[in-house]
């Protein structure tokens, strides 16, 4: 044995030497491959993470803290009195990355910005076109862009559209036109890192942008790895093959990783909402008493104990309290709509509704752990009052297709949305009703009774009044128990202690820790 070890140790030392370049950050996501790196389509967290390093918006959420906006490509901006005209003054000297056919790159101007916004507004070249209807874009001069709105919007609703998220990322015109369809796997932007290489199902390689307008990044480059198995990600982090990984949003996992030498776990906001939507158009959930019975049968505290109190936070209304117009649990409690667990009450309501023995429901759920596991806990909780959920597990995309075909009586939906308007419109406006709505979207509950409130709030410029209308709408939803908010789950990322993001990570709009010019490996 000794002789064997004597042979192996120097051997591994030799093989291990020079394995990775000093300053390349390796970050892994539990995904099998990228979907698209066109920022106006990118939706998966792993795609957004890459896009975020390559592109900029006109304004940006402060790194690590989404409660504030700061200049990005635009040095400054102003809005007209009536809130209809927004003018942005671009930072001169912003350089577009080199791309095939243009090894030097070029200076970004208002022409690119207008092109990019128009692309984001065009349903044939953007998944977010709906957010940009009723807007006109115009290049006033080389460094000035003007956006004119049909109807005025408050900053809360407008600025996210031009921030470093989704349609707000600025795509340089000439680069996009030169690459055509290839742009989705060869993104070209202005950000701190330049796309270098994509190895399908393996990784995307980015290198430092020495001409970045905030100064050259400290890292030599970034590699984004696709490792579908969370456990393999963790093992890679343990062995030092990876520096940052997306973790499992469960306290036990956090505890396990925190116990390992050299590793740090970040749990940060804002977090995604976890909500159960009840299909009110079909028996037995068309009966208010049945929906309330389900709400009374579920203990948020048990769910939170399962997920872990550091990761899961009580959520009592559909818009989370950290957004303008969100409701805190105290406010909901004051309105008497908390639905704290009460099995007696649940059984009594079921009896009144004519099903004292309970009933059974067939539901699909995605294999994705952050949906499936809490749903399994809900299943066990509901079993206590005789409600039997028969779960069929499907893959994530099948789940999203099936629930949009109205296949589930109860839909568990996990998401983050940039503001209250998007939450309420897409989940509770009658136009958004799945299958039958005017613009079928994600109204799984078939809610029809808050359309007027949603529309009124959207065009209210006074922020306080706007928030007040949004809150009223949510209390209506709770009265009718169209959906039951469970908890907010925060994001969990683990990293090697060598990684310094370069900013304090409190909340990241991007749902992942952003890597920027200040990030370094020590």
């Amino acid at each position: 044995m000794k002789r064997f070890l004597g042979l192996v140790v120097p051997l591994t030392a030799v093989l291990g030497w020079g394995l990775w370049g000093a300053d390349t950050l390796k970050i892994a996501f539990p995904a099998s491959d990228l979907n698209t790196l066109d920022p106006h389509y990118a939706a998966a967290t792993n795609d957004r993470a890459i896009v975020d390093m390559i592109f900029n918006g006109l304004v940006r959420y402060s790194p690590g803290d989404i409660t504030e906006f700061e200049p990005d490509l635009a040095e400054s901006w102003e809005t007209s009195e009536d809130g209809r005209v927004w003018t942005f003054h671009l930072r001169p000297g912003v350089w577009v990355h080199p791309y095939p056919g243009n090894p030097e790159g070029y200076e970004l101007t208002s022409e690119d910005v207008v092109f990019s916004l128009a692309k984001a507004a065009d349903p044939t070249s953007s998944a977010y076109a709906g957010e940009y209807t009723g807007m006109a874009f115009e290049a006033v001069d080389r460094y000035t862009v003007r956006i004119v709105l049909d109807r005025p919007l408050s900053p809360v609703l407008f600025l996210p559209k031009v921030a470093d998220y989704a349609g707000g990322f600025i795509v340089p015109k000439a680069a996009y036109e030169a690459l055509g369809d290839g742009f989705r796997t060869h993104p070209v932007g202005t950000g701190p890192f330049v796309f270098k290489e994509y190895l399908p199902t393996q990784k995307v390689v980015l290198v430092r942008n020495d001409r970045y307008f905030r100064g050259p990044p400290k890292l030599a480059g970034v590699e984004v790895w696709y490792v579908p198995d969370v456990n393999a990600c963790l093992n890679g982090l343990i062995t030092g093959e990876l520096h940052v990984i997306e973790g499992v949003r469960e306290q036990a996992w956090v505890k396990q990783v925190k116990g390992l030498p050299g590793l740090v776990v970040d749990v940060f906001g804002p977090g995604e909402t976890e909500v159960l939507h009840f299909n009110m158009s079909k028996a037995p959930l068309d009966d208010l008493r049945v929906r309330q019975a389900i709400a009374y049968a579920i203990s948020r505290d048990e769910l939170i104990a399962f997920i872990g109190p550091d990761i899961a936070e009580r959520q009592c209304a559909v818009v989370p309290p950290y957004l303008a117009g969100g409701l805190s649990c105290e406010e909901v409690a004051q309105a008497g709509l908390l639905y704290e667990v009460n099995l007696e009450r649940a059984r009594q309501l079921l009896a009144e509704a004519g099903c004292p023995e309970g009933f059974s429901l067939d539901c699909y759920i995605t294999e994705r752990a952050s949906y499936r596991k809490p749903f399994e806990n809900v299943q066990a909780q509901l079993a206590r009052v005789g409600i039997k959920l028969n779960i069929t597990v499907v893959d994530h995309s099948s789940y999203h297709s099936l629930i949009r075909q109205d296949a589930n009586p109860i839909v568990h939906y996990e998401c983050w949305r940039p503001n209250a308007d998007v939450f309420l419109t897409r989940f509770y406006h009658s136009d958004s009703i799945v299958v039958t709505g005017a613009k079928p979207d994600t109204n799984f509950s078939h809610t029809t009774f808050i359309d007027d409130l949603i529309e009124a709030a959207r065009y209210t410029l006074d922020p306080e009044l706007q928030a007040c209308i949004w809150k009223t709408a949510q209390l209506r939803l709770l009265q009718e128990m169209s959906s039951y908010p469970l908890y907010i789950s925060k994001f969990v990322y683990a990293r090697s202690e060598k990684v310094d993001y370069g900013y304090e990570l409190k909340s990241s709009l991007a749902l992942y820790p952003q890597v920027n010019e200040l990030t370094e490996l020590r």
Binding site: A305, N377, A380
Partner: protein, 283 residues
Amino acid sequence: MTKGHRIRSRRVRAFLRNRTAVVGAVVAILVAAIAVLAPVVSPHDPLEQDVYHRLAPPGGEHPLGTDDFGRDVLTRIIHGARVSLTVGVFSVLLAMGLGTFLGLAAGYFRGGVELVVMRVVDVLMAFPVLVMGLLVMAILGTGLGKLIVAIGVVLAPRFARLAYGAAVSVRETEFVDAARALGAGPWRILLRHILPNVFGEILVMGTLWTATAIRIEANLSFIGLGVSPPTPTWGNMIREGVNWIVVAPWLPVFPGLAILITVLAFNMVGDGLRDAVDPRLQT
């Protein structure tokens, strides 16, 4: 005593002399008994969650610890035996019935039946077993019945080939001619005269494929295409357990051992049966 009886009792004796095979049989019977008696022998309810006591280490009230929902691991392994054996046995019975029937028919009737059946068999045999299993489960979705059908469909062509070969080699022999001359119908000939000739081999293959079917089930469950939760299966217990390797390494290890022991037992029995049926192929 007829010749058939003599052969049979000689085979039984040969099997019983094979220590490995007997050990395998005892273990397999034990696992089957545990599966049948699961509700009686398990210490807890396999579905009862206790999230306040999750990932408890082995010992005390939970001999093999608890999983991430606070469910008793031993209980879930015991109940997992039900799924593994049900899938293993019934998918093979399905494959055996379907495959043997089609193979015999193809070999005996020849002509169009042969052409169609054997072409289908060729096509299905071109799929690697696991690839076919993945594909079928991806379409059908999860569930016990679907799992049985998926694995049954995957394995059926293997039995069809075996039965086909036997039927072809026997159909021209004198005793089949004699039976035909005595006015026996084709099905009677197939069942009374041809099937018994291959029955031993089919049984051997069935036992060995049961071992494989249990393994395939574990593979599919591990990828997440098995039985829906909260039903425990060994494969998905490993799948879930792997996430807790550092704090709770026993979670993937114990169900894996259960798979290994069960599959091993069926392989031992299969080997013993093969030696008994065909001493020439003694391994």
